[in-house]
C-alpha cells in the first residue's frame, strides 16, 4: 500500500516535470496571441519547431536513461515510470512533427515527399519517428502480452531511433555543436552502462 502510494507520488512528480516544457510553450504561445513575435520571436515557426525538437531529443534521452538510473540508485519503482516517460518523449516528437507539417510544408503531401526524398536530415527524422510510433503503439499491457518475447526485441528499435534523431539534428545544424555534443555524450554514457550490465551478467553466467 505504502509502496504504491510512493510509486504514484514519484510518477506524478515525473509527469509534472516532463510537462513543464510544454506548459512553458503554452505560455509562450499565449504571449504570441496577445502580441505577435513577443513569445517565440520574429520567426515563430522556426522558434516553435526548434523548441519542440530540442525537447524531443532531451525527453528521448531521459526515457532512455530511466533503466540505468534505476539500476544506479537501486530504485526499482522508477522502472514503472519508464513507459510514461517514453510516451512523454513521443508526445514531444509528435508535436514537433505536427509543427513541421503545418508550418513548414503547410500540409502539402507533395512538399513533404520532396523533403523526405531530398533532405537527408528529414529522412532520418521521419525514420526515427516511425520507430518511435511502433514503440508507442505497442507500449500497452495488451500488446506486451500478445508479443511476448518479441516485445523486448521490437523495443530494441530505440537503439536505432535515438541515433537517427541525433543524425537528424547534426545534419540540420550548420555550426555550433555544443548541445549536440552534450546529447551524444549522454547517449554514449547510457549505452556504456548497458554494455557494462551485459558484460557483468555474462561473467556471472560463466562463473
Amino acid at each position: 500500500m505504502a509502496k504504491s502510494r510512493s510509486n504514484n507520488a514519484l510518477k506524478f512528480t515525473l509527469a509534472v516535470l516532463a510537462s513543464a516544457p510544454f506548459a512553458w510553450l503554452v505560455y509562450l504561445i499565449s504571449l504570441e496571441i496577445v502580441q505577435p513575435t513577443s513569445g517565440l520571436g520574429p520567426d515563430p515557426a522556426e522558434g516553435l519547431l526548434h523548441y519542440l525538437g530540442e525537447w524531443s531529443m532531451i525527453m528521448l534521452l531521459v526515457a532512455f536513461g530511466v533503466t540505468p538510473v534505476q539500476r544506479l540508485f537501486k530504485k526499482p519503482l522508477l522502472a514503472r515510470s519508464r513507459r510514461m516517460m517514453g510516451l512523454f518523449a513521443f508526445a514531444y516528437v509528435v508535436l514537433h512533427l505536427l509543427a513541421y507539417v503545418v508550418l513548414y510544408v503547410e500540409s502539402s503531401w507533395q512538399l513533404l515527399l520532396e523533403d523526405f526524398v531530398e533532405r537527408t536530415y528529414i529522412t532520418a527524422g521521419i525514420a526515427a519517428f516511425f520507430g518511435l510510433l511502433v514503440m508507442a503503439i505497442t507500449s500497452t499491457k495488451g500488446w506486451r502480452r500478445r508479443l511476448g518475447q518479441n516485445w523486448l526485441r521490437l523495443h530494441k528499435v530505440i537503439y536505432l531511433a535515438i541515433p537517427l534523431a541525433l543524425l537528424h539534428l547534426i545534419w540540420l545544424r550548420k555550426d555550433g555543436f555544443g548541445d549536440v555534443a552534450l546529447y551524444i555524450l549522454c547517449f554514449a554514457i547510457l549505452l556504456g552502462e548497458r554494455a557494462y550490465q551485459i558484460r557483468k551478467s555474462q561473467k556471472a553466467a560463466t562463473v
Binding site: 520567426d43 555550433g176 555544443g178
Partner: protein, 306 residues
C-alpha cells in the same frame, strides 16, 4: 496583386506617394533620410508593391553573425564588445593602391545613399531593410584594380577576445569569415557597402562599421565587419563553400529552382511572420532583381554554378 505576375510595371506606378510617406513615417525622421529623399528612384528600385519595411528591432535583434554565436539573438546580445574605432582595412592583390587604410579615409567625401532592399537568407526567411550605403564600385575604384583583378575577396575581423563565436570550442568555422564577388558583380549598381541602417550608424550586430550588401544573393554573401579587401585573378573560396561545398557555392544567387539540401528555396517567410500567418511568399529568381543582374550570368548553367 500577386508578386511576380507583372514585374515590368515601373516602380513609380506601383508605389503610391501615400504608401511611400507611410514608409517614411515608419523609418522615423532623420536628417540622413531627408537627405536621401532625392534618391527615391534608386532607393526604391525593384521594390515590390507589397514589400513592407521590416521593423527596426527585428532587423537589429534577429540575425546571423556566427562570430558572436549561432543563435539569432546572439549578435544583438554579444556584439557590443566589438571595438570598431579605430578600424583599419587592408587592401592587397591586383591593384595599384594597396596597404593599410583607415576606414574613415576610404569613405572620406562619399555620401551614403538610402537603398531599400529585400534581404533573403538561405534559411528561407526574408526581410525588407532600409540600408544606407555607398556603391561598391566607387569604393573599389579608388584602389585602382589592375586588369588581372577578376575577383574581389572580403574578410571579416578576427578578434576572438571580442567575438565569443570565434573562441567557441564547438564551432567548425575556419576564421576569418571570407566571401567574394566577381568584379562585374562588384561593379553592378546594386552592390553597396553598407554603413548605416534606419538612418543611423550600422550597429555592431549588423556588421559595423561596414558590410557588403548584394541583394540578389543569399544573405551569407553579404560579409560583415570587413577588414580585408583583396583583388585576385582566382575565384575566392568562401567560408560556407569551404565548410560544405555540396550545399553552398561561390555564386549563391537567390534561385527558387535550385533546391538546397536543408531548405526548400521555392518560398520564404517574410518576417515578422506569426504562428497563425507565416507570411509565406514565393521566392523570386535573383530575389526579384533579375532585371538588374540576370545579364551577368548569361550563358551560365545556374544549377551548376549555384
Amino acid at each position: 496583386m500577386l508578386i511576380g505576375k507583372s514585374p515590368k510595371i515601373p516602380t513609380s506606378e506601383i508605389i503610391s506617394e501615400t504608401t511611400y510617406l507611410n514608409r517614411r513615417k515608419f523609418i522615423g525622421q532623420s536628417a540622413a533620410l531627408i537627405a536621401g529623399t532625392g534618391l527615391l528612384g534608386s532607393a526604391q528600385a525593384g521594390l515590390q508593391a507589397d514589400d513592407e519595411i521590416t521593423p527596426e528591432d527585428i532587423v537589429t535583434q534577429f540575425n546571423n553573425f556566427y562570430e558572436f554565436g549561432t543563435d539569432k539573438s546572439d549578435p544583438y546580445e554579444n556584439a557590443h564588445t566589438m571595438t570598431t574605432d579605430p578600424w583599419t582595412v587592408n587592401v592587397s592583390g591586383e591593384a595599384k593602391r594597396t596597404g593599410d587604410f583607415a576606414f574613415e579615409d576610404i569613405i572620406k567625401g562619399m555620401t551614403a545613399e538610402e537603398r531599400i532592399y529585400r534581404f533573403r537568407c538561405v534559411e528561407a526567411w526574408s526581410m525588407v531593410v532600409p540600408w544606407m550605403g555607398i556603391p561598391l564600385k566607387k569604393i573599389l575604384e579608388q584602389f585602382e584594380p589592375t586588369g588581372n583583378a577578376k575577383y574581389v575577396e572580403f574578410k571579416t575581423l578576427v578578434r576572438p577576445e571580442e567575438m565569443p563565436g570565434q573562441s567557441s570550442f564547438f564551432s567548425s568555422i575556419d576564421w576569418p569569415y571570407t566571401e567574394g564577388l566577381r568584379m562585374d558583380e562588384a561593379y553592378n549598381p546594386l552592390s553597396i557597402m553598407v554603413t548605416g541602417v534606419f538612418g543611423k550608424a550600422l550597429p555592431n550586430q549588423n556588421g559595423a562599421p561596414w558590410r557588403l550588401m548584394v541583394p540578389w544573393k543569399y544573405g551569407f554573401k553579404s560579409v560583415k565587419s570587413i577588414v580585408s579587401i583583396r583583388f585576385t585573378d582566382k575565384e575566392p573560396l568562401n567560408t560556407w563553400q569551404q565548410l560544405q561545398a555540396s550545399e553552398y557555392g561561390f555564386y549563391a544567387n537567390v534561385n527558387p529552382a535550385v533546391s538546397h539540401p536543408r531548405w526548400s528555396q521555392a518560398s520564404e517567410r517574410r518576417l515578422p511572420s506569426t504562428l497563425f500567418n507565416t507570411n509565406r511568399r514565393p521566392t523570386l529568381p535573383f530575389n526579384g532583381y533579375a532585371e538588374e543582374v540576370a545579364h551577368l550570368y548569361k550563358g551560365m548553367d545556374l544549377k551548376k554554378f549555384f
